[in-house]
Amino acid sequence: MLFLLQDGITNGAIYALLGLALVLVFAVTRVILIPQGEFVTYGALTYATLSSGHVPGTARLAVAMGIAAFCLDLFMRRRSLHAALVARALAVNILMPVAILASTYWFVGPQNPAFLNIGLSLLIVAAIGLFLYRLAFQPIANASVLVLLIAAVGSHLALQGFGLLFFGAEGQRGPPLWNAAFTIPPLHFSGQSVAVYAVTVVLIVLLWLFFGFTLYGKALRATAVNRLGARLVGIRTTLSGQIAFLLAAVIGAISGILIVPITTLYYDTGFLIGLKGFVAAIIGGLVSYPLTAVAALLVGGVEAFSSFYASNFKEVIVFTLIIPVLLLRSLAAPAVEEEKD
């Protein structure tokens, strides 16, 4: 019984991270981030590829997206181009991903320490997240939630296709971060699961600090509450969107790196993992971080128990879990919402 709970908490911790990222992105940009799962697989498989001593295709994708973003930047600002602007666009969109690619080539090797590979993976996925916002969402930042959602689906499809291209159809596993193991009777802890708990807690605390105590964090929250108001007080809402996507990508990649030593990941596994993070995010109402974290643990627990007792209907149970919660939520707060086009 206890090991089921333990299993549930490990999964739940990952779902919590993803749920937090989804809430973050939705609150700031109103995008329901379907590609969150791709950040997970990209992070995990990039890390696994680097560990086996190869250069992952994602590093090249980042450069390609950077070039596209650079062109888009120049095209959008074609009426007000000046040197500083071009230089800035060049630095962010071209030099940064090229530098990441170059250092990947420079450092790559089968004997790399894990932290180096992790660092590189995070950089690569972060760049992809940033450019994804720039390319797919920034031009339609004011569109309806539905249109943004469809754009999210489009980018999910494209990224998943790239995933297959880069990583192949076979699943991969990565080396564990920590090989130690503990036993506190009757439970057995692997070093990896301890790492999962630790990293999750640290990330949640960091996010809390970021949103509560830094100017950028506060700017993001302001954007979430009222875009127009935020712009009027001088917050660049496009920057907020970019930061949100950057954070979501990093969080997704971290989750991926945390689980790839435990489970075999395929290029399309991320979608389902992301969706479960989603269930947690929805239970949290897409607004509350602590509630999302608690809900994620619940989802992980339910999943672990139902896979033990009714493994055939595990997914049915996990996904139907949302409905009573949604019902309660909308009964509790029958918000008078008006769609504005």
Binding site: L146, I282, S330
Partner: protein
């Protein structure tokens, strides 16, 4: 019938396609798939684009349709034609069950909820023994007419496209009717629709079922086309893709669904067919290009391909309606007698947490009387309106119309009893014509239901409603703009449209929330004379207004609120010199 011409032409073209000599069979299969997808997308147009309810679960309803016929024809030997109504009924019942739960969800919860049960149902399909688990059910008999079996893609082509065109016509009929107007008003929030008697939960459930039945029909056709059913095409990914089709084509337009299906299905097919030649068959390149193209398309035309295309059409099909003004609707029996209070408010109170928005307010409105409710901003005027019309429930006190308590009646009931209103923030459906918007006001005076509208059995009822609307538009002087979209009028005129809409409900008491705001001087004078006419015709008017000249000129009596409390009541002359009122407006020292 001129407006039906494009449909007839389209039908003829589609009917001719299989007879083109030498047309590749591959194209026919493609068109079959487009038709199947178009059916689902059309349901989504009504549900999402028109009704504002986003659903990711439509693929699951296709699954209900397909599995119903699959099980019944293979295991029980039913005839495929017999399973058609059964498939539709099963999808419909599933929609009622899921709809009762999910339609009540507000805002973003709804699409998320549909993802959830879409996924849940997918896994259910793939785990249940009698549905063949992951392998599904094969060996489904083909459709047959007599001894002619529709096995060939070119044969079932006709079944599919007859279904598509028939459903498109029925859907357009539905949208252009009393029920259709109610559905189209849903997306702008429920307050305005309910103020004219629309039962919004019922209307939402109706579109939900309608979309599900269309999806079920598509599933039924699919099962007999593929002659097999397995869970994959009914999963979450498929559900997302259907929504996709609708948005790409233009979610607000029936033909947008068909166009979206054509674009997406054809694009996928072309990419799958040709990209491997270009890039030597590496990976799933088509899915990458497909994804990127869709994102690009959304950035170019966020409202979809159909409106984009229509805007570029040289010949714009414009619709000019001239309702037959000789038709008349029965009027409300006039129970007005001078002297008795029509509306009486007795110690009405509304508290929002610690804030008392309306604090024990009492006043009356008598028959044939214009009463003005004035007061500084935040005095509780609009809240009082919301209490009277049933949008908000009073915390305490009574509100009655002719002695009948209405303080806990829902808005629909209040309207039925004879109170109709306009809104401070205009609540029209901007993409409906002025005529249609005004006709919504007469919702409760019509009787035609959804089925009657789909088969055009509602025309007599509809003509009466349209005639009444046209009469009210004439009365407020907007006949010239009758066929313009409401959103294209200046704000002041939109307020006048709201008055016409309120008049359409044949009220005894008209509630006007800042009707003169945004009007020019001449327009204000015309509005004042309109209101005087209404009064001499037997109607009472309660209005909130900030233009003091307008109010003092027009009102028989003025009630002044400040901070939720009634501070004065009397004739305009008495109010003008009332020290409490002057203090409230200008401060203590003035």
């Amino acid at each position: 019938m001129a407006e039906r011409l494009p449909v007839v032409v389209f039908t003829l073209v589609m009917a001719a396609i299989p007879f083109i000599p030498g047309i590749p069979p591959f194209w026919i299969v493609l068109l079959d798939n487009i038709g199947l997808a178009a059916l689902v997308a059309m349901g989504l147009v009504l549900l999402t684009g028109v009704g504002g309810l986003t659903s990711f679960g439509q693929a699951a309803f296709c699954g209900f349709g397909a599995y119903t016929t699959a099980v019944l024809t293979t295991a029980y030997g039913f005839s495929p034609w017999l399973t058609l109504p059964l498939s539709l009924i099963v999808s419909g019942i599933a929609a009622v069950a899921l709809g009762l739960i999910t339609v009540r969800l507000s805002g973003h919860y709804l699409p998320l909820g549909t993802i959830a049960w879409g996924l849940g149902l997918f896994y259910l399909f793939s785990k249940l023994e009698f549905l063949g688990r992951n392998d599904g059910i094969s060996g489904i008999p083909p459709l047959a007419i007599g001894s002619f079996k529709l096995i060939d893609p070119a044969a079932i082509y006709f079944a599919i496209w007859i279904a598509v065109i028939l459903c498109a016509v029925l859907t357009m009929n539905l949208l252009d009717s009393r029920t259709g107007r109610a559905i189209r008003a849903l997306r702008r929030g429920h307050v305005a629709a309910e103020a004219f008697g629309v039962q919004t939960p019922r209307a939402k459930l109706l579109v939900f079922i309608y979309a599900a039945v269309l999806a079920g029909l598509s599933g039924w056709l699919y099962a007999h086309f593929q002659r097999a059913a397995n869970p994959t095409p009914f999963g979450a990914q498929a559900g997302i893709e259907y929504l996709f089709l609708a948005v790409v084509g233009g979610a607000g337009y029936v033909w947008g669904g068909v166009l979206g299906a054509a674009i997406v299905v054809a694009l996928k097919e072309i990419l799958q067919g040709y990209l491997p030649y270009l890039f030597h068959g590496e990976g799933q390149l088509e899915i990458i290009v497909f994804g990127i193209l869709l994102v690009a398309l959304l950035q170019l035309a966020p409202s979809g391909a159909w409106p984009w295309l229509m805007a570029r059409l040289p010949l714009k099909p414009s619709r000019k309606r001239r309702p037959d003004l000789s038709l008349a609707l029965p009027r409300r029996a006039n129970v007005a007698t001078r002297g008795n209070a029509l509306l009486s408010i007795d110690h009405a109170r509304k508290q929002f947490g610690g804030v008392i928005a309306v604090n024990d307010v009492s006043f009356d409105v008598k028959p044939r009387e214009i009463v003005a409710l004035i007061g500084p901003n935040g005095a509780g005027k609009s809240t009082t309106f919301n209490l009277i019309t049933g949008v908000l429930a009073a915390s305490d006190g009574t509100i009655s119309l002719y002695g009948r308590r209405i303080d806990n009646a829902p808005p629909q009931e209040v309207t039925k009893l004879g109170i109709s209103r306009t809104f401070q923030h205009v609540k029209l459906v901007p993409d409906m014509s002025v005529l249609e918007n005004v006709t919504l006001g007469a919702h409760l005076r019509g009787t035609a239901g959804a089925l009657a509208s789909m088969f055009r059995l509602d025309r007599a009822d509809e003509a009466g409603l349209l005639a009444e609307a046209a009469r009210q538009i004439e009365r407020v002087g907007l006949t010239a703009h009758m066929n313009a979209t409401a959103g294209s009028l200046p704000l002041g005129q939109q307020r006048i449209v709201e008055i016409a809409r309120a008049l359409c409900a044949d009220p005894m008491l008209l509630l006007l929330d800042e009707p003169a705001a945004g009007l020019r001087h001449m327009e204000k004078q015309r509005l004042a004379s309109l209101l005087r006419d209404l009064r001499s015709g037997g109607m009472s008017v309660l209005l909130v207004e900030h233009d003091m000249g307008f109010v003092m000129d027009l009102a028989d009596r003025v009630v002044v609120l400040d901070f939720g409390t009634r501070i004065a009541e009397g004739t305009p002359e008495a109010i003008r010199t009332n020290p409490a009122v002057i203090r409230a407006y200008l401060g203590a020292t003035a």
